[in-house]
Symmetry: C2
Subunit: 176 residues, 2 copies
Amino acid sequence: MSLRAILLITLQQEPGTGYDILQRFKAGLAHVWQASHQQLYRELDRMRGDGLLTCETVPQAERPDRKVYHLTAAGGEALDTWLAEPLAAGPVREPLFAKFFAWERWPADARRRELGDLHEQLTQRLATYAAIEEEWFAAPERLTPAQRAPWHTLRLGQRLTQTWREWIEEVLEEGE
Amino acid sequence: MSLRAILLITLQQEPGTGYDILQRFKAGLAHVWQASHQQLYRELDRMRGDGLLTCETVPQAERPDRKVYHLTAAGGEALDTWLAEPLAAGPVREPLFAKFFAWERWPADARRRELGDLHEQLTQRLATYAAIEEEWFAAPERLTPAQRAPWHTLRLGQRLTQTWREWIEEVLEEGE
DNA sequence: TAGTGTTATGCAACAAGTTGCACTACCCCC
DNA sequence: GGGGGTAGTGCAACTTGTTGCATAACACTA
């Protein structure tokens, strides 16, 4: 259900094609949702079938047609329903933690490499977040509440990533 | 693949039944992995079919038989392979964040209720973690490295939960 | 001129996870 | 005497997400 909800939100902000949405996932929504293009196209078609979206085909010279999706009234209602009901807590799944429970079988070099790589990925992620912040949320004191809300999510994304990164540093240090 | 790996790790520590593993998920592994009993039974049977586990049926008076699973040599190898190769980063999926991107359609009372409930859940989770810490990791300075490793994961779980909780407090406070 | 990246769409098969249901039998509490 | 919790197993149907493959055409660069 959640993917549907994300699509309703992004299309409510602005109509677009599957490809457009994919770009938004990579840009300003990088800390919120990720999905493959296959999944998007399939879900958009199903939502159209369920009457939540309408589709307008825009022909292009020498390129595949763009299929621009818009919310319908039913789509707006579905979104409001989803917003009103609280989310169920997702299951905890941390495969990396599991490796720590097999410490003695986990070779030290593999461990250092894995944690080192992850540290690098997190650093890169923080750079991405910083870029998003600069592009969309410069001067946070002048934002409207509706613009300020997404900024909060970015801030939490940053803090969680930093927490992870600090922890990795501590673990690597202890393993000397 | 990850569920298989978790099962290999828990059964390598100590053989057990599907039901036993479920109890471990609820107790010391609460911050690592969660799965339904249906999923466990099905996966254990498949792993037996693939030669990673053997199964010893222990009859009980007036109760269904206990099926105690053990690692095979092939299971141990599969575990070592999994430990040696780095994990792929999982996709980001934060449905709660999505709601912040539809701030104006999200009713203020629903928002306060949802964030309040989540705050309570996180508080409860911290209590669970504290209980685990007390039961398994009292006197961390006297732990062996292999015992210390799982303790680290618990500490990160605590810090991440705290980070979330503080953020919710800030958001609620700002919402007047 | 061949390879890589971007724009643009999608099907089919598979793997993983969820939901609903079913059976047995004890214990405890109201 | 009925309802809920614990111990113990599992099937079947469904939803969700992944992987592999396919098509078409432009732009850039080595």
